[in-house]
């Protein structure tokens, strides 16, 4: 097990997250993709913390914060999606293009 494998896995996970972020039509799935990207970041942080900074494990502290904030962000995100859904009766991202040129 080496650091690079974790980093590569995290990068792959991030890329999958980006792909899901820009291609999903369902707004909830967009939020799920963001969660995926955050988890990829967490994986990075954990890996660096273990291999580079095993004494002070600052990365793990960061991870804790990221998880907490990700939970809050997901809550707010879902609230926004709900708010939009109440008004427009859909969660299709392609219908939310009112603010164009």
């Amino acid at each position: 097990m080496r650091l690079q494998y974790f980093l590569l896995t995290a990068a792959a996970l991030f890329c999958i997250g980006v792909y899901g972020l820009v291609t999903s039509r369902n707004a909830v799935r967009v939020l799920m993709s963001i969660e995926l990207m955050l988890n990829a970041v967490n994986l990075n942080l954990m890996a660096f913390s273990n291999y580079v900074d095993p004494d002070q494990i600052k990365g793990q502290v960061f991870t804790t914060f990221v998880i907490a904030i990700a939970a809050a962000e997901a809550a707010v995100g879902l609230a926004i999606v709900l708010a939009i859904y109440r008004n427009r009766d859909t969660v299709d991202m392609e219908k939310f293009n009112l603010l164009k040129w």
Binding site: V18, L21, V22, T23, S24, V30, M93, E94, F96, N97, L98, L99, K100, W101
Partner: protein, 614 residues
């Protein structure tokens, strides 16, 4: 020290300029109630004042050495432009003629413009003219002569355009200004090019310089041609002659000035420039050629006109053509004599024709006739004026033409024949006008035509007196050749050409055996002369066509290319803004993708050196 009247001769232009300035008071917009007549009286009085000054100065300065003085005008760097004045007998005589004819023309105008409200404008312009002409003959510098010529060009434009509500007046004034302007501009080229070669613009110094000048003949030829072009336009010579024909649309008293004096200002400059022009034989030949073409063409055209004012405008071109011939062949004295006799005779003829027009309305000589019994004074004026211009002994014109012929007979036999022919044609033309207007049966236009009132008769009779006395004056001032100085043969030939011209016309226009209106065998030739060789069409097809085509092309180049280039920048910005706004698609996912691509791009750019190094 010369007499104080000669020392103060520079006041001559000032008098009339004061009159011109004072006339402003009686513009209809300023003096609304009492009419414009005082403007005319004031200007006439000031002209009389100038005339008295000039004639007394002439009698004092007669045969005295010239009095030179100069007035500083402008001094910059190495250029010192002082206005030099050269007061000799010729200049004083010219001033006397100018102020005298102006005074009489103004008296005539007081009668002629009886029913006109534009006196202030008219008389101020006449005064402006008089000032310009006096300045021209008094100053001794080509540069200031040019300035005076340009002022007179502007004056012609304004005076001709007096009654600007008539469309023909507007086009005539336009042509007069532009045609004379073209000549003046060529003259300016010559004036500017003369400075580095001669180093002076003073006529007297130019004459001294020219007597011993070593110059490139080609340069001198071009320079001389440019100097010739100014007088060519001013004197209404071919091909710059159409303006004088169209200038006949202007008010008549202005025509007196134009025919008798204004065209002479070009001759004056020409005579003064003779030493410079004589440096190149080509220039003299061109002057002779222009003069010959104008003299022959103009006299033929004059015979074919039916407008009384135009039958008199072309003879002005003709006599000026003879002046060109005289200068081209070096007969300066003959040129000055021709100018003098033409100024007086033509003034009288124009006054007489104006008097006829004033009471008979029409200017068409075929509509006039049989006025001799009713209007003997006008008839005698026209007759004596005509005889004074052509070579009829003992009038002034005879001695001028005789002197010209004397100078031509030996060296230029062909041109002397032309002069005799021109004299014949002039005599024919004048006789034709006289027969049409004063003899023959009366016409509906002349059935009840009274003689004009004294304001017009008085100056007419006065000028007639001058014309009749001209030979005596010439005799008293030793201008007449004595018996041994001219050949009797020349005098007889000239007299015969005049008499036969007068006689042929009299027979043709009075004899009932000749059908009226007279038709030439070829109507095309007749139309060619009647329409002035189709000069307007010639202008329109050459110069005007070229200039208007070029300006159209340049205008569209400016509009489409230059403007288009500047506009295209604006349009490109507008278009890019319009099209690039579609990048704001409204899809938040698209924005995210843009961010990701941006991050990838920046990271790639930052990593690029490391990737290469690896």
């Amino acid at each position: 020290m010369p007499h104080s009247l000669i020392q103060s001769i520079w006041l001559l232009p000032i008098y009339t300029l004061v009159g011109a300035a004072l006339s402003v008071i009686w513009f209809p917009g300023l003096t609304r109630r009492t009419g414009p007549r005082p403007a005319g009286y004031i200007n006439a009085i000031l002209s009389l004042f100038a005339f008295v000054h000039a004639s007394i100065a002439l009698s004092i300065g007669w045969d005295n050495p010239a009095y030179d003085f100069s007035v500083p005008w402008l001094q910059v760097a190495n250029l010192n432009l002082a206005i030099p004045f050269h007061i000799d007998t010729t200049a004083l005589a010219a001033c006397t003629v100018i102020t005298g004819i102006n005074f009489l023309a103004q008296i005539f105008a007081i009668g002629y413009l009886e029913l006109d409200w534009g006196w202030a404008r008219f008389f101020s312009l006449l005064a402006f003219f008089e000032a310009g002409m006096n300045f021209l003959v008094l100053n001794d510098s080509l540069f200031f002569s040019y300035m005076a010529l340009e002022l007179l060009t502007l004056g012609t434009y304004l005076l001709l355009g007096l009654w600007f509500n008539q469309p023909l007046v507007v086009t005539g004034a336009r042509d007069a200004f532009l045609t004379k302007r073209v000549g003046d501009l060529f003259l300016l080229m010559g004036v500017v090019a003369l400075w580095p070669i001669a180093g002076t613009w003073n006529y007297s110094e130019l004459a001294v310089w020219a007597s011993s000048a070593q110059v490139d003949p080609k340069a001198m030829t071009l320079l001389g041609l440019a100097l010739l072009a100014g007088p060519m336009g001013k004197c209404a010579q071919f091909p710059l002659h159409l303006w004088l024909d169209e200038a006949m649309e202007g008010p008549v008293p202005g025509t007196i000035l134009r025919n008798s004096l204004v065209v002479q200002v070009g001759a004056w400059v020409l005579v003064k420039l003779y030493p410079v022009l004589a440096l190149s034989q080509t220039v003299l030949n061109v002057a002779i050629g222009v003069g010959v073409i104008t003299a022959v063409g103009g006299s033929l055209i004059a015979i074919a006109q039916i407008d009384i004012k135009r039958t008199l405008s072309y003879p002005t071109s003709v006599v000026m053509g003879c002046v060109f011939i005289a200068v081209g062949t070096g007969n300066i004295q003959a040129a000055l004599l021709l100018s003098l006799s033409h100024a007086l005779g033509m003034a009288l003829m124009v006054m007489s024709s104006s008097a006829v027009v004033w009471n008979s309305v029409t200017q068409d000589i075929t509509q006039l006739g049989g006025l001799f019994k009713r209007r003997p004074i006008s008839a005698f004026s026209l007759a004596i004026g005509g005889l004074g211009v052509i070579a009829m002994p003992p009038f002034g014109g005879f001695w001028a033409f005789l002197q010209l012929l004397e100078g031509l007979r030996v060296e230029h036999p062909v041109i002397s024949v032309v002069v005799i022919l021109v004299n014949f044609l002039l005599a024919f033309g004048f006789s034709r006008v006289f027969c049409h207007v004063f003899l023959g049966p009366t016409n509906s236009f002349t059935e009840r035509s009274p003689e004009v009132h004294y304001w017009m008769i008085l100056p007419m009779v006065t000028v007639m007196g001058f014309v009749l006395h001209l030979p005596l004056i010439m005799g008293a001032t030793q201008l007449l050749p004595t018996g041994s100085e001219f050949s009797l043969e020349n005098a007889i030939i000239l007299t015969w050409s005049t008499l036969s011209g007068l006689g042929f016309a009299a027979v043709a226009y009075l004899s009932p055996s000749v059908a009226k209106p007279i038709k030439l065998p070829s109507s095309k030739v007749q139309d060619l002369f009647a329409y002035d060789f189709y000069t307007p069409q010639l202008y329109r097809n050459t110069i005007i066509g070229l200039v208007s085509f070029t300006s159209t092309v340049l205008n569209s180049f400016d509009r489409f290319f230059i403007d288009g280039l500047a506009n295209s920048f604006g349009l490109a910005t507008l278009f890019s803004g319009q099209s690039l706004r579609y990048s704001t698609s409204g899809q938040s996912q698209f924005y995210m993708m843009t961010m990701v691509i941006g991050i990838i791009g920046i990271v790639g750019w930052l990593c690029y050196p490391f990737l290469n190094a690896g």
